[in-house]
């Protein structure tokens, strides 16, 4: 029992709002922040689309891998779509949370009864939703303008690859947010990671005979596996159902690793303020 403001006595307790509802509320909050800010919208949805349109206008020839001539777009559209999803998940989790910590929003959240898992879960789901939109936009454009074909029997493999890859990059985004010194440095870190990774991961154009160290680097990092698993579902030489178990397993390992690092090192207090306070008091 506790005595409330009006002097009335109320029973302490009462039902908590459900975790799912809280995560949903958090996701909607993160979505709002995304859509009302042109910078992330451009870098996560606009830029990959521009690349697809450029590729589609430059690489217009057909390729025959033994199943008759297929437009080149059939090979690079899924790779670019996987890159779009990875990029959207990494940036929208990592950069957004790093900024929200810098501005004290995470501290504010931590001072409320909102469970941290519901808040971070909402951020992950929000970024996955944005990744899904980005991927769908790529395929709509690819199918309508560049003759990309979709095999119905391999759609389940495409969906699972998308989910595993996106969530794994969201997990890496949590780790990025945990280690980024500030919101301002987070975009540089995120792009410094994802753009070079894209070049060693056969996302844009498959490299012809890359040096061993680049090939191995690409094999170790998760993006090539995302691109491969996802592209397999659209590759004419891959038979249905098109599952790529090993690629999925490596992505899961990266995603879980990122989430564990975040679990250990994520913190809610603004770091800039701490530094200033330490200086003031010194």
């Amino acid at each position: 029992m506790r005595t409330s403001r009006a002097g009335a006595t109320t029973v302490d307790g009462g039902a908590w709002p459900s975790w799912g509802r809280l995560a949903w509320t958090s996701m909607r909050g993160q979505n709002r922040t995304f859509w009302r800010n042109p910078v992330p919208v451009f870098f996560t949805l606009g830029l990959p689309l521009i690349m697809l349109v450029l590729f589609g206008s430059l690489f217009t020839w057909d390729i025959d891998v033994g199943f008759g001539p297929v437009p080149a777009a059939q090979f690079y559209t899924p790779g670019l779509a996987a890159f779009t999803a990875a990029n959207a998940a990494l940036l929208n989790v990592g950069i957004t949370l790093a900024f929200q910590r810098q501005f004290g929003f995470l501290k504010r959240i931590r001072g409320t009864p909102l469970p941290p898992s519901a808040f971070l879960g909402g951020a992950v789901v929000s970024s996955a939703w944005i990744a899904l939109l980005g991927t769908l936009i790529m395929f709509v454009v690819g199918v309508l303008f560049f003759d990309v074909g979709i095999a119905a029997a391999k759609i389940p493999a495409a969906v699972v690859s998308f989910l595993v890859g996106t969530l794994s990059f969201a997990g890496l985004g949590l780790a990025l947010a945990a280690f980024a010194p500030s919101g301002n440095t987070a975009p540089a870190l995120a792009n410094g990671v994802i753009l070079p990774m894209a070049f060693v991961s056969d996302v844009f154009v498959p490299a012809e005979n890359p040096p061993d160290w680049l090939r191995i680097l690409g094999d170790v990092l998760p993006l090539k596996h995302f691109s491969r698993a996802f592209s397999a579902a659209f590759h004419p030489a891959v038979a249905a159902p098109g599952w790529r178990g090993a690629d999925l397993a490596i992505m899961v390992a990266w995603g879980v690793g990122g989430a564990l690092l975040a679990w250990r090192f994520f913190d809610w207090m603004p770091r800039v303020a701490t530094g200033r306070r330490a200086k003031q008091e010194a």
Binding site: W16, R32, K107, R110, G111, W268, P270
Partner: protein, 313 residues
């Protein structure tokens, strides 16, 4: 698990110590705050106010010492604790926010078991009509009211106000003070930090003065005043020296750069003698003022003392 009956203090702190690396921010402080009390932590920047409050809020853990807030140890307390405290932060969190006032309050309110009505809170903080305005387009003073609203939306028993009026113009400060008085009259316990002594004097039942991570005084504002002496000042008339003044005045006067100043517990008697002396000689005393006992003097004296005690700061 928790107990907020009137006999238990809302907050009890004993021997609290906190360092950031080599910097000792809080050096062993103890105090209690009664349920329903308004308690102010007063001190200059870097005195340890914010660190202390952040430990009470559960944002930081103490290096050592015992802390109890509403019966919880905030360092390990979960959502039961956070459901009952409201935190009004000084950080400029919402300067860049693209959400509206109503959206912010709805999403924060959703986390509590018994949130206050959103529009009621908006009215309490004086933002009626601003429901659908984005936070970043509000004025600085309006944004601080949103800060206040976010701290109140969960209908807390204990409210932390971290420098609630820093950067306010006098009118906005007065409005914020009235809001705090209203909260107090509703029986809420309030802990506020401030570096304005008049704010502590006006709002707080008790004030702890922090300096260099230590409490150098803790009492009701009226008791902090120390000496109850008023100060009388006036410019010495041309050609007069202190020996020419009436006996009661001459006994206590100090003259500096032509201005006579004296402290007295009997300002009325002293002024009667001084005025009689001046009128009898046809002199108009220039710059004559009487200042009541002030918390400001007491505060400056206290933090002066603390500063001397403290070598590392």
């Amino acid at each position: 698990m928790s107990d907020s009956s009137p006999t238990t203090p809302a907050v009890a702190v004993r021997g609290l110590i906190k360092s950031y690396g080599p910097v000792q921010a809080v050096r062993g402080i103890s105090f209690e705050v009664a349920s329903g009390e308004v308690f102010a932590l007063l001190g200059p920047n870097g005195a340890g106010k914010s660190t202390t409050v952040e430990i009470l809020e559960g944002h930081r853990s103490a290096d050592s010492g015992d802390v109890s807030v509403l019966g919880f140890d905030p360092a390990v307390a979960g959502r039961e604790f956070r459901d009952r405290v409201g935190i009004v932060l000084q950080e400029a969190t919402i300067d860049t926010s693209d959400v509206t006032v109503a959206e912010a309050l709805d999403s924060f309110g959703a986390a509590y078991r018994h949130p206050r009505d959103r529009d009621e809170v908006i009215e309490m903080v004086g933002l009626t009509g601003k429901q659908n305005v984005r936070l970043k387009t509000l004025s600085g003073g309006q944004q601080r009211r949103v800060d206040m609203a976010l701290g109140l939306i969960g209908d807390p028993d204990l409210i932390f106000l971290d420098e609630p009026t820093t950067g306010f113009d006098p009118e906005a400060r007065r409005a914020a003070w009235e809001m705090v008085k209203d909260l107090r009259s509703l029986g809420r316990t309030i802990i506020l930090t401030t570096h304005y002594m008049e704010e502590a004097e006006y709002l707080a039942d008790r004030v702890a003065v922090l300096m260099g991570g230590r409490i150098v005084a803790c009492a009701a504002p009226s008791q902090l005043l120390g000496s109850e002496k008023s100060t009388v000042r006036f410019r010495l008339p041309d050609g007069a020296c202190s020996a020419d003044l009436p006996a009661l005045v001459a006994a206590a006067v100090e003259v500096s750069e032509g201005v006579a100043a004296l402290s007295t517990e009997r300002p009325t008697a002293l002024l009667a003698e001084l005025a009689g002396w001046a009128v009898a000689r046809g002199i108009e005393l220039a710059e004559l003022t009487v200042n009541p006992p002030g918390l400001e003097d007491a505060y400056l004296q206290l933090i002066g003392t603390g500063g001397e005690l403290d070598d590392a700061d």
